[in-house]
Symmetry: D2
Subunit: 359 residues, 4 copies
């Protein structure tokens, strides 16, 4: 259970780190959208291990195949099934995972829940699961862009204590992609890269914050009460591996302001109702107000480190475990397309829901 | 749409601030649970306006009626319909709301979405909507306590810059309820109360943080991938009025640690797999690991202030608006039972889901 | 569970035969639809006991109250909560039901499932549950009529072996309502009424067939594969109390034809693609083709008869049971608005789904 | 939309007749069920074209691959992705389908809905879509058999006017599979086969009835109101290609009986509550009562015939169309495993739902 996301633009991901591959089925995609693998592969390449010296070095090409739902270059309105084969299948590299639970991974909890787990590569807990999300998200981003004029972006805002200076209302995709850490503040990006490299060389890992932004969302998307836009975004973000926190608009910082300071006054501008500040993060009462939607997501440092750590074996004895080979020092650069994908999936779903009830 | 929460223990809330009342239908409740209004009213009283000098002074008794689903004092397994009549119906107090959008409220976004809104008292955007959640949450808490041995608590952790010192693993309900701000750190509670009173007297408002905790959750609740326990908690919390942020375990603070520092080592203790720290917040890979689940939710300062603010009228002209009468200086004391309710609803739903697939 | 129907126009019914009442929450209704109790009460009156001499004689006024979701005579887009109080609460009339399972009722299965049951009046198994459906269906019919030009009708096609002659493409509401059995074939209606009266006088009951029709449905509603229009109609109809069978278009009779005979040739007519016959019943591959949608539903004879029958007591001993007082000889006249309601609920849901994906 | 079935044991099918293949993702399968392709292939072989002289002669091996969700021969509790490659890709055989709508197929309605369709082989409307259902159903049947002691069977009850004599309470799988028409009445099976052959030789097609039965279902499965067991079965059956009708227990025939005749008296038998007749078809009030569940499904004659028929072209002109090559004279033998699969999917879903709420 729990492998489906969305109400009307609905995705179901499947697949373990080892085995036949990973994939996704997208149901509810509007018909007649131009679509080919070339629309999807670039985001998978941004998510791919081995793309730069500061991410996990495994070699995976992650070439997507579209198995259904597209005919003569256009979507049919029927389910779009996409599949990426698994390649890098060195189970032996993971042999110790068969007998010991890795600290702060999900080995133990999967075993506790299911009484079985696919230990090679972490099985379903592997970040490979996000391939399906990123592939589906690429379609969602395309629909948002072409049919609704909505642009979705994400970038690294902070690595450990290094905070970038970025204006979410103006940041450009090419600035984000201009460096391997995906931080549009070029000077800070350099520092971040050096910090990640130092951390990797010390056999350790580091976390940080990704900021996501959606520009061009019209007023009116989102549902009152439970399916508020920010609630669905929060769920989407906290469903990403290694995420620990979400804040929208003023977020945790907003509690240091009084109501007078925090409120966003309305003013007419260009014939539209606008706000002169944006503590609300573009959403009020769960519904978009036309301002940029922006939020931040915290990702903890990657759990696999090259140091011996206390743990427990599958036969419930105290033991220790140490990471082997080369490790992933920082998930952030690869998580950027994941944040974009989940944002786009939430938004396109709400776009369709809004059309259904109020359109 | 969007007025239903949960998969197996499913609640649907309804009702506007003015009109026939507010209520909730709970579907999927296990049969034969002892239940009467006396199980529900105490939490509604904790949510009620007018309960103390630091919350909104409106007089509402909020007496719950159970209309269905209970027979001879026990649940039937059929839908439990609960209803609270609206009483305090002075529409005239809200007359200006008919013609002007209140800043940082949802008046404008509802109008933009639906092309209509119930302006008296904010209609569906009123916090009265949470009555249904708190009523349903009281049932969920009872089931968790009696059938699963799980205790759910919440308390005020921070008001503006005043931070309480609380051990989430040990805090007791009676300490939380020992003061009107619902902060178990008695000394800090006094300061918080004074701050709220000063703020109220200045016609302003203040926000803060509520911490929630669930103790006794067995390993194995939660679903991989999208319906992770922390993802569903994040959605639940961000669906509460005025909430802006959610963090679980180490949260945003965890990004200042390295992986070595952040990881939770496993050790055997009393025949059980335990962790010696709890950066994970009791959840790993979306599934509970048996440690206390704890998280924090930020609530912005209440939007209604007693000062003139810029805004826009419904006929799209610039104007100003000033709150009238007595206002609510801080939502936190009343939000505590809301956080408990949403936490319990998430947990009982996952308890049933776990039983279905793995039980 | 199982008390919610629909994806986008979603209804949740609640209530037992005795207790606080019965009701429904409608979520997803489009905003700005003119609505008052006067739109709903007429269908509840058609469903009401005691409306004529051939239905159950209990006196129930079944006056509906709209508690939420409507403001100044128009829907808000928020949940519409509707409630009908229970009045006729003579539990003593049902005392024997506390200790014996009524044959071919759901007393035993509810007890087996839940370990508890509300025996007075059958509790949740009572046909009073359909009040919520009929109330919600009245809204659905209004939307279909006003926004989509779709007309939904149902009528009694057969009582026991008495078969009416009706053209589903032309039948009119006023002809259906011109007699108490709701059969538009006036001559046959007379015979049906006499049969029902004779059966009632013999302390027995009789079943039959209701035919439903939807005219004006445009081509394109319905989903491929599982949520085919006919599949959702079948579920809707088989969810009605006492229903045992569903057939669409040619139905069971179609199997006596060969493919050549059964196929519906396409011809252009008035610039539209039409079929020259309608074995398909207006649906092909789960999607409407623009022709009238028609189907038949079989309702078994009412289970409560005025004769002694073998049964089992709640303490699992063989015993007998005989109905008391005045019984309901035939459910058909009152089931007509139920069939209409469920048809309309299916159609409006698919109308919204179609708009969302393809509109 | 509409490509997912089930609440807790949830399947999503995908795939067109031509293209990458067809498949299914099963989410919610209990963990640790022994599973390999060998459990699934036999049912796919029973569904396969070319399996006998009385079904469509296309050659398809339909070899299933399990891509995820199984580890070391047991289910993981994670999604099970299954895939069957498309092989028989002679698009040219279907060239005329590009320009003309086949009568009583779904070509026109798909075009009307989506504004696009995959015409080769019927695309998503092809019966190949049912491969995913049958594969998922094989898992469902295994779980029902091994964990709940429930046996699901289906067989051909009638071909045109030829009616078999079968006792649904006693019929055996090996008798069903003893002949190519899958009718356990051996004498009638011979006649049916000859009728199908004669019809095929005349370039025509024939329909009939499949009866399904589930034995060993304990009392208590099924939900009140909308998700009644018979309602979900009706939806499941009407979602199968070419199905037109569903009846449970006494069905349409039951309306010729009075209530006295139709009722199923309860009697104690072997310490259990049993009924001495089974007009109810094993379900009362939507919940199983422990008796065999049996129902009948009507399948219309296959639409493709070897005769010229009136139709309309995609550019909306009157024209004619005649089937080419060798056609499928009767869908019934291949529909038997489809009926079993859908029955098993409904039952296993309700088994898990019952466990969740009442278990």
């Amino acid at each position: 259970m729990g492998n489906t996301f969305g109400q009307l633009f609905r995705i179901t991901t499947w697949g373990e780190s080892h085995g036949g591959g990973v994939g996704v089925v997208v149901d509810g995609c509007p018909p007649r959208v131009k679509l080919s693998a070339a629309d999807i592969q670039p985001d998978l390449d941004r998510r791919r291990p081995g793309q730069s010296r500061i991410v996990t070095p495994r070699k995976e090409t992650d070439a997507v195949q579209i198995l259904s739902g597209v005919f003569e270059g256009r979507t049919l309105g029927t389910p779009i099934s996409m599949w990426v084969k698994n390649e890098d299948q060195r189970s032996e590299a993971y042999a110790e995972m068969a007998t010991k639970f890795r600290p702060s991974h999900a080995d133990y909890t999967y075993q506790a829940k299911f009484g079985i787990r696919a230990w090679p590569g972490g099985g379903r807990t592997s970040a490979r699961e996000t391939i399906g999300r990123v592939a589906a998200g690429a379609i969602a981003k395309k629909i948002l862009r072409e049919r609704f004029g909505v642009e979705v972006l994400a970038y690294v805002k902070q690595v450990k204590n290094l905070v970038a200076d970025v204006d979410c209302a103006k940041v450009k995709f090419r600035d984000i992609e201009s460096n391997i850490v995906r931080c549009p503040d070029a000077a800070m990006a350099e520092k971040m890269i050096r910090l990640i490299e130092r951390t990797r060389n010390a056999g350790d890992t580091v976390g940080g914050i990704i900021e996501g932004v959606a520009r061009g969302v019209p007023p009116g998307w989102g549902e009152p009460v439970f399916d508020r836009l920010e609630a669905d975004l929060a769920k989407a973000m906290l469903s990403l591996p290694a995420s620990k926190a979400f804040e929208i608009g003023s977020g945790f910082g907003g509690i240091l302001l009084t109501g007078r300071e925090h409120n966003d006054p309305f003013r007419m501008k260009g014939g539209k109702v606008r706000t002169t500040s944006n503590s609300s993060g573009g959403i009020q009462g769960g519904i978009s107000n036309g301002e940029p939607i922006y939020f931040r997501v915290a990702f903890k440092p990657v759990a696999t480190v090259m140091h011996e750590q206390d743990t427990v074996s599958v036969d419930l004895k105290n033991t220790t475990l140490k990471g082997r080979g080369r490790h992933d020092p920082c998930v952030l650069p690869r998580a950027v397309p994941m944040v974009e994908a989940m944002t786009a999936l939430v938004l396109v779903d709400h776009a369709l829901r809004h059309t259904a009830q109020c359109g």
